[in-house]
Amino acid sequence: MGLRIWAVMQKEFIQTLRDRRTLLLLLSIPIIELFLFAYAIRMNVDHLRTVVAGAEGAECYAYVQALEASGYFDVVAYVDDQAEVIRAIDGGRARVGVVFPPTFARDLQRGTAQVLILVDGSDFFPAQTAYGMAGVTAQDYGFSVMVERLERSGYDTRFLHPPLDMRMRILYNPDMSDLVFLLPGLLAMLLQTQTLVLTSAAIVRERELGTMEALLVTPIRPLELMLGKIIPNIILVILDMLLILALGTGLLRVPFRGNVLFFFAVSALYLLSGLGLGILVSSISRSQKQTQQIVMVVVLLGAILSGFIFPRYAMPKWVQMVGLLFPLTYFLGISRGVINKGIGWSVLRPSVLSIALYVLVVLGVAVVSFRRRLE
């Protein structure tokens, strides 16, 4: 049996290594992904382009200065009225508009000043940041005006400070680096995508080219054929994983807090689930085109529903249930747990057992449907 598997493996290796371009693509895509995540993705937006209308007098400019000093707003133009502000936002020239009423200075004296802040709501992150920061800076400014006024009225402001202070501690990722958060997810995502794509493609391709039958008239058994086709893929995927891990923790300095061996052991288990899924996909689809469509859906839905980018607890219950169909969902918690949090078997036991169960079920179903397909 081992000898026959070895023969198939050799064939697969030769086919893979011969096709340099595909190999290059396979190895380079994850690296490109890693660097993109490392350097391109910033969810924090600052220096939002801001236009100001109706700014007259020192009070208005002091307020504008406070906005700019926060680092979140860059004033790019002063305009006459609100209509022009809206035109600037409509045209995408500005994200934020600040509109002062003509009576701002007088209202400020009376303590009833109002500023209108308009935010471009067509893009999410800028809108969210502008929304939050506009309120905070207005409060800051109000506070400084208040202190100044108390000083003028002879109040000793040296001891005037908010009586409550907040210390914020961010566990696992004190600098709030997006990469620290994304690397474990990226690894999990990569392992699933690569195994799924490679396995299903390898099987469907043989079938479409008609070489599957040719292979099966040889003494080889279906299970051996499958194993032989899969092992080279596993080796490739593991290579990819090591590469990403080395680059991520070495070059990009993402800390790896947990036990590396434990991580590899669970990853191996997780790989099997991707393989099972791949065999399943290839045995239900009839052509490479169909396989591609199904794989695309699995990859995309996996990315969305597993918690890779968007937290699962914020999703409706039934969407969370659908997410449980993807092995990525289970592995993500493990990957983040081991890499970011440094936790191990004692805490992660339920997740590991879920993956094991998933592997058993999916491999079982896959083998049955692969057999049936051959007959």
Binding site: M43, G92, L164, M168, N173, P316
Partner: protein, 376 residues
């Protein structure tokens, strides 16, 4: 130059192949629908109701007030009460909660002395929650502290209005910061690109791989007619899919459509053509369907990250933005946000429209050149 009869022959072959394979056809239409559906319901861009562990070692009026203020904001849901800081961290470790609040003993007295200190612990392995929690907690604590201070000053006999400025923030086009309004227009654009690029790349590379392209070219059909015959059915599929997903998005999910529908459809056509051109380019580079798949999924990922589809383009380094400029979705995301969400007309988005038109023409031209090169 183009013979209509020969073109019709290629079209007939393509349509027969397409319609014969019902399952694939069904998949082609189902995929965008599934994605639209799940994306729309799964993507909750504004994270609130963050599960939180509370460790209140003080249990007095002040600490209760502060916790109430956090819960009332809607950002924090108390998932459990912990006995100490270690328990809070254990709950975070195990992923039961994403945030923790620790209030030291004797909080009320500390506040009276002006030295109250609250500890907020956040799960840094989940950027989304951490950012929402960070800014919410900061704002709430600041607000709460100012309230306390104002209360104290009032007691000391300060009578004038203590917070002299109020800002009212109005979010245009999307007053409640509804995630669907952000995501659906851009998602429709994204799905349209995936569909046009993948279909085109796949169907041409398949002919190359199976060697049937030589057979086709040995007939009197010219390369241009062959390409057109391949592209037109894809354009029709894309148009049908577009109408389908737009109906579901704008009618079914109730996402407002503020601009001109005709303008949107016309610009979508332009965008679909640029997608076909890009697919054609991919097909001239890729040798096998596998390679085409690798390239298109890479493209999909780049499109998700670099075009402003989810992540803002402003903070990206210039070189990364430049890579994004090579993807037609970059222009079209800005166009749909303008035409659909902001309801503006051509005068305000013409630059992106012009860029898209140039893109479509250039992609087609280059693809045709490469196609000829590959034939020789």
């Amino acid at each position: 130059m183009i013979d209509l009869q020969r073109l019709r022959a290629v079209l007939r072959k393509e349509l027969t192949q397409l319609l014969r394979d019902r399952i694939t056809l069904l998949l082609i239409f189902m995929m965008p629908l599934l994605e639209l559906f799940f994306f729309a319901y799964a993507v909750n861009l504004s994270v609130d109701h963050i599960p939180t562990a509370v460790c209140d070692l003080s249990l007095d009026v002040r600490s209760r007030d502060f916790i109430d203020a956090l819960v009332a904001s809607g950002y924090f849901d108390i998932a459990e009460y912990a006995a100490g800081e270690a328990d809070v961290i254990a709950a975070l470790d195990e992923g039961r909660v994403r945030a923790g609040i620790v209030i030291p003993p004797d909080f009320a007295a500390q506040v009276a002395r002006g030295q109250g200190e609250v500890l907020i612990i956040l799960d840094g392995s989940d950027t989304y929650s951490v950012q929402a929690a960070y800014s919410a907690a900061t704002a709430i604590a600041q607000h709460h502290a100012l309230d306390l201070m104002v209360e104290k000053l009032r007691r000391q006999g300060q009578t004038f209005e203590l917070m002299p400025v109020e800002s009212s923030v109005r979010v245009l086009y999307n007053p409640t910061l509804d995630g669907l309004i952000f995501i659906v227009p851009a998602l429709i654009a994204m799905l349209l690109q995936i569909l046009t690029v993948n279909l085109t790349a796949q169907s041409i590379v398949r002919e190359w791989e199976l060697g049937t392209i030589e057979q086709l070219l040995a007939t009197p059909i010219r390369p241009l007619e062959l390409i057109l015959g391949k592209l037109l059915p894809n354009l029709i599929i894309a148009a049908v899919a577009l109408v389908l997903i737009a109906l579901i998005g704008f009618v079914g999910m109730g996402v407002p459509f503020r601009g001109s529908v005709l303008l949107f459809l016309f610009l979508s056509l332009l965008f679909a053509i640029s997608g076909l051109g890009l697919g054609l380019l991919v097909s001239t580079v890729a040798h096998t369907q596998n390679e085409a798949e690798s390239i298109t999924s890479m493209l999909m990922l780049l499109s998700m990250l670099l075009t402003g589809f989810i992540y803002p383009r402003e903070p990206m380094p210039a070189i990364v933005r430049l890579v994004g400029d090579l993807i037609p979705l970059t222009y079209f995301v800005r166009i749909v946000r303008g035409v659909v969400t902001r309801g503006v007309g051509l005068t305000l988005v013409w630059q992106d429209v012009a860029a898209l038109a140039i893109y479509a023409a250039l992609a087609m031209y280059l693809a045709a050149r490469f196609f000829h090169l590959r034939l020789d």
